[in-house]
Structures are given as structure tokens and as C-alpha cells.
């Protein structure tokens, strides 16, 4: 509620400064993410394997995976929490980014595959293909592949969003067609002829930029890169939602038609948010794939996108940091459940969603806010006063 006054009073001090002062929760979350990543990396790299303090490479990768999910949840929160676009197909952008990275990793295998073909990935040799299809060209270059990681999800989001938002498809209808989008992509990627490895997907990766994916140091670097991507993604989203652009997004979320009558091209605003979000999701997917070592069409399955919505809802939407916290919490719970009682996980997930919908409309983050309000109630009046004094 204080963003306007703060942004006017701190004009010209740079987005990072404004961010640090305006968003303590986000600041502490990012500090915690970096601290844990660095500690886990250090304990993995510098503590000998026999020691009680040693962290296994499994844990390093697991944490890296969580951070990728955090970035994905952040991407969804930008469009859902701030613009009211409930995308039930955001997993598609994640998977496309993952496939772009997977294609690069496949090309890196070279002649070390089962069939030893220096040019063609194993699945193409198996299908008796004679040459690399045109859409695989260029993926031997790391930077080209990284460009595609952003371009492919971004372009799909642009085309899809342009058509959907221009036709004023909103609410449940939009959710359903995003779901259809990811489902259609899943069916396409399942086809062997489509040229992306069919239901096996892309796997058996060997190395990235010459570094072995099996080595602990590569895994640590990937973890740190995931933390960095999450941090930068967070700063970008925070900057966007704190700017006037973000306030227009919220206006669209709260009163779309009113915002049109003020003179804003609502579809353009939605489109920008949707494309930025898709690119962030693509980057998350690209960091995810080398860490888990596989990408297959299952990543497009609608249930993944729905789970993603649950993460954001559980964490608390419309806060950015809540989405990340939700992704980390739910995925940690998932890891624990699938280890301890695998059959119970889906029930637990369902229960979590019901509890969140019924009692925690603003998620775990909202629970904290509620508690704070209840126990430190008298200061709420002075808080408003403070804000007034703050502005100019």
C-alpha cells in the first residue's frame, strides 16, 4: 500500500535500493536462498564424504530443482497474482525451455551415444533418420540454444496471448485454453515422428560446455546458477510490479473494463506480462533439465501445471515471494511424502489445496500477515500515519 509514496520519495535512487527498502520479506527470502545454496555447495565441495557434515550431490541437485520450481512459480505469480490470468498451462513454457536445453545437451553427446553416430542423436538413428532435421540445426551452439530457451516460450506466449487477449478471452475460458495448449503440446511431443525423442524424451546427457554433468562441481555450479536466476528473476518481477506498469496490471486484475475506459490497451499489458512470464518459465526449465538429466513429454502434462498453481496458492499469490515459498514448501513436502509414504502424496496435495482455499485465501504468507495483525494490532493505525509522513 505504500509503494506509491515510496516510489515518489525515492525516485532516482535505482530499483535495487527501492527494492531493499520496500520489500523486507523478499530481501530475506533471497538472502536465505543464497545462504542455503552457498552452504550446501560448500558442504558438498569442501567437507570430505565420510564426514557427518557432508552434503550429498543428491541434495545439491534436489535443492537446484526446487529453485527452478521457485522461478517457475514466480513466473506464474506475475501473471496470476498481479494480472489475474490464471494460466493452467504454464508447465508448457517450462518444458519448452527444458527441451531447448535438452537439444543442446543431446548434440553435446556426439559420438558417445549407443549407436556412436557423431551427427544424429540415438533416437534418430533408431528411427532410421538419415540427417538432422532443420529444427535441430544450430543447437550444437550453446548460445544459440540459450537464445532458443527464451525465444521459443516467449514466441509461443506472444502468439497465444495476442490471439487470446485481443479476443478478450478471460477467466475460466482462458484457463481452459491454456490447459488445452499444454495438453496439445504433450500429445505432439509424444509422437516419435515429431523429432524430439517421443515418449522417452531427451536423456543420457553427458556434459555441458565440456563439463561433465555427473561431476559434483558441475552440479554445484548449476545450483548456484539456479539461485542466481531465481534472484534476478525476482528482482525483475519486483521491479515490474513496483513500477507504474505493475499498478496498471493490478488495475486490470481488479477492474479490467474500467482500465480500458481510462485509456489503457489492456491486451498489450497482459501480453507483455505473459511473454515475460513465459520466458522466465523457459529459463527455469532450461536450468532444471541438466540437473535432473532428462526431459520428456510428461513435463507438458496438465497435472504439472495444476500442481504449479497449487504451489502459488499455498505460498500466497500476488506477493512474488509467497510463490517461491510455496514452491519450496510443497516440493519439500512432496519429496518427504514420496519417500516416507508414496501413496499418500496425492491425498496430501489435495488436502493442502482444500485447506488453502478454505482457510488461507492469501496462503502461508497471508497467514503470517494475519498473525502479525492479530498480535500487534494497535500499531496498524500508526502505520498508516507513518506512510503519510514518508511521502514527500
Amino acid at each position: 500500500m505504500s509503494s506509491a509514496t515510496l516510489s515518489t520519495s525515492m525516485k532516482g535512487k535505482g530499483p535495487l535500493c527501492r527494492f531493499l527498502l520496500d520489500d523486507p520479506a523478499g530481501k530475506w527470502l533471497l538472502i536465505a536462498v543464497f545462504a542455503v545454496s552457498i552452504i550446501v555447495s560448500g558442504l558438498n565441495q569442501f567437507v570430505p564424504e565420510g564426514s557427518a557434515l557432508h552434503v550429498s550431490s543428491y541434495t545439491v541437485t534436489l535443492l537446484g530443482k526446487y529453485l527452478c520450481f521457485g522461478l517457475l512459480a514466480l513466473a506464474l505469480d506475475l501473471v496470476w497474482g498481479y494480472c489475474g490470468i490464471l494460466s493452467l498451462g504454464h508447465g508448457a513454457f517450462f518444458a519448452l525451455g527444458g527441451y531447448a536445453m535438452g537439444m543442446y545437451l543431446m548434440r553435446q553427446i556426439g559420438d558417445r551415444g549407443v549407436y556412436g553416430n557423431p551427427e544424429l542423436p540415438d533416437f534418430m538413428v533408431f528411427l532410421n533418420w538419415q540427417e538432422l532435421p532443420w529444427y535441430w540445426q544450430g543447437f550444437d551452439s550453446f548460445w544459440f540454444a540459450m537464445f532458443m530457451v527464451a525465444l521459443v516460450p516467449g514466441l509461443l506466449a506472444f502468439l497465444f496471448g495476442w490471439l487470446a487477449f485481443r479476443s478478450r478471452v478471460t477467466g475460466v475460458y482462458l484457463s481452459i485454453i491454456t490447459q488445452a495448449l499444454t495438453y496439445a503440446l504433450m500429445l505432439m511431443f509424444f509422437q516419435n515422428d515429431f523429432g524430439f525423442g517421443g515418449n522417452n524424451g531427451l536423456t543420457d546427457f553427458k556434459d555441458i560446455l565440456g563439463f561433465s554433468l555427473q561431476s559434483d562441481s558441475t552440479r554445484v555450479v548449476l545450483l548456484m546458477l539456479s539461485a542466481l536466476a531465481l534472484g534476478l528473476g525476482y528482482l525483475l518481477c519486483r521491479w515490474l510490479v513496483n513500477s507504474r506498469y505493475g499498478r496498471v496490471l493490478m488495475a486490470v486484475r481488479d477492474a479490467e473494463s474500467r482500465t480500458r475506459f481510462i485509456g489503457y490497451r489492456v491486451e498489450h499489458y497482459k501480453l507483455v506480462a505473459f511473454v515475460v512470464s513465459a520466458i522466465l518459465a523457459g529459463i527455469a526449465g532450461a536450468l532444471y533439465v541438466p540437473q535432473v538429466g532428462i526431459i520428456n513429454p510428461g513435463e507438458f502434462s496438465p497435472i504439472n501445471s495444476i500442481e504449479l498453481v497449487v504451489w502459488v496458492a499455498v505460498g500466497g499469490r500476488g506477493t512474488l515471494y509467497g510463490a517461491i515459498i510455496g514452491a519450496l514448501l510443497v516440493n519439500y513436502a512432496k519429496t518427504w511424502f514420496t519417500g516416507a509414504m508414496p501413496d499418500a502424496w496425492l491425498f496430501a496435495l489435495g488436502a493442502l489445496f482444500v485447506v488453502t482455499t478454505l482457510w488461507l485465501p492469501r496462503g502461508v504468507v497471508g497467514l503470517y500477515e494475519q498473525a502479525k495483525k492479530r498480535f500487534i494490532k494497535p500499531s496498524s493505525g500508526t502505520q498508516d500515519k507513518e506512510v503519510v509522513d514518508h511521502g514527500r
Binding site: R247, R260, F261, Y269
Partner: protein
């Protein structure tokens, strides 16, 4: 495209506008014009087509037939005549037509100040909204508007926390900052106290010294306070037009509306 005679100082021109929904004619050959800096009140029973008329002018509804022109006499005003039926809501708003809804619709999650900033004229593209800061001139305009709508002490409260009357005022403030040439206002006095109603009438009269204002209203005391030309709408077309006294004495008007 305009071959009919339209008076020189016309800002908005509707000619034979018809809109039908499933055979029901919400507007039936509606024709009228609004002059520059004119204050005009429109009354009419429910279903007379008042909202549809607003929708047509603001680009929300496309008419089946008829012309809706903004600045029709292009040669006189150095501005081009604009066919409003070819533009959508955002474009119409940026051409200089502001609209206030019956239900106060301010952005609930934004503060009073942020609502006003949102409405401030200019800087409408996503790119501008990210990189173009607020000019000091713009900030002054917002402060002036805050003063005018008497919400200075509420500037950092969210829209959701305002009372009904305060929301109405905030919305009027937002319209001021949009700085439109034509202002369409739907039942501004609804839910206001008597004192607020008269204050609103004063403000609207004041506003009409710089722009044209069209007010749709039911409250006769309010219309009397506006002291302007009144148009009675019935079944999608104009039933009577003139001073309040004139239309109040019109037998047809009494039959369909006032006499009830």
C-alpha cells in the same frame, strides 16, 4: 463523409443510431448533438437506452446503423472528425472521452494517489509505464485534483477503504486527470448525501466551462441544481428536449416518466 448540416460548435454528433439486441431496439434512430462546453442532462426510465447510448459513444458497443462522430466539423477546429464506431474503449478514451460509471469503480487495491496517477493523461503504453517516470507537472496536477476532491488526507489509503461517496469523488478526480473533452457521467448523485449532491452539481457546472459534460441522472433535485438543457430518452430515442421546466410540462414526458 459529413454532408448534413452540423452546427459549428458541435463536439459530439449522433445521427440515426440504432442498436438492437436480439430484435429489441435498445436505441432506435437516436439523434442528438452536444456542443462544446455544454452541460447536458439526460433522463429517462429504466430501459430507455441510456447505458447503451454511453456504450456506443465510448466504443463498447458497435451500432447497427447510424453515425457517431466526435469533432464532426473538422475544418472548423483543426482537428479531424472522428468516427467513434471504428474505435475501441481505450482508443476512445485517449481521443478525449471520459466515462464515469453508475457504480463507483475505482481500483480497490491501489491507493487514492495511485488511482489518480493511473488516470493522469498520457503515458498509456506498457513501455512508457515502465520507463517514463512521473513529471513534476504531473505530480502537481495530481495534488490539485486531490485538493479538488477533498481527499488529501486519504491519499495513501486504498480504494477499498473509502466510503461510497469518497469513491464517487475519487472517480471524478480520476476523470479530471484524464482531462477529456467530453465527459459522460452515469448517475453521479446515487448514494450521495444532499450536501455531497449539491457539491457534485457545482463541480460539474464548473467542469463544463472547459469541456462538454453529459450527465445521466434520476435525481430531479440534482438536475435542477445542474441548471442545464435536459433531454428525455424513451425507448431508444429522444422524447423531448429543452429546459427542465419545459420537459416537465411536456404531456408525453409526464405520461411515460414523471407521472408514474
Amino acid at each position: 463523409m459529413v454532408d448534413k448540416h452540423i452546427p459549428d460548435d458541435t463536439l459530439l454528433y449522433l445521427d440515426n443510431v440504432t442498436v438492437s439486441f436480439d430484435g429489441f431496439k435498445a436505441l432506435n434512430n437516436l439523434s442528438f448533438l452536444v456542443k462544446n462546453q455544454e452541460l447536458r442532462a439526460i433522463i429517462g426510465p429504466n430501459g430507455a437506452g441510456k447505458s447503451t447510448m454511453m456504450d456506443v459513444i465510448t466504443g463498447k458497443t458497435r451500432p447497427d446503423t447510424g453515425d457517431v462522430l466526435f469533432n464532426p466539423n473538422s475544418s472548423m477546429q483543426l482537428k479531424s472528425s472522428i468516427d467513434l464506431t471504428r474505435h475501441d474503449e481505450a482508443e476512445v478514451a485517449n481521443l478525449g472521452i471520459g466515462r464515469k460509471f453508475q457504480k463507483p469503480s475505482v481500483i480497490e487495491s491501489l491507493t487514492v494517489w495511485e488511482n489518480l496517477e493511473l488516470a493522469l493523461k498520457g503515458r498509456r503504453s506498457p513501455f512508457e509505464s515502465m520507463f517514463k517516470g512521473l513529471s513534476s507537472e504531473g505530480a502537481n496536477k495530481i495534488d490539485e485534483a486531490l485538493e479538488k476532491i477533498r481527499l488529501q488526507d486519504r491519499r495513501d489509503f486504498t480504494g477499498a477503504s473509502l466510503s461510497h461517496g469518497q469513491k464517487q469523488w475519487l472517480e471524478i478526480g480520476m476523470l479530471l486527470l484524464q482531462d477529456p473533452e467530453l465527459l459522460l457521467i452515469d448517475e453521479p448523485a446515487a448514494g450521495m448525501t444532499d450536501e455531497e449532491t449539491f457539491r457534485t452539481a457545482d463541480l460539474l457546472r464548473e467542469l463544463s466551462s472547459e469541456r462538454s459534460v453529459v450527465v445521466v441522472e434520476h435525481d430531479m433535485a440534482f438536475i435542477k441544481a445542474l441548471d442545464c438543457r435536459v433531454m428525455v430518452l424513451h425507448e431508444g430515442s429522444v422524447l423531448a428536449e429543452g429546459s427542465l421546466e419545459h420537459v416537465q410540462q411536456d404531456q408525453q414526458v409526464i405520461d411515460v416518466y414523471l407521472g408514474r
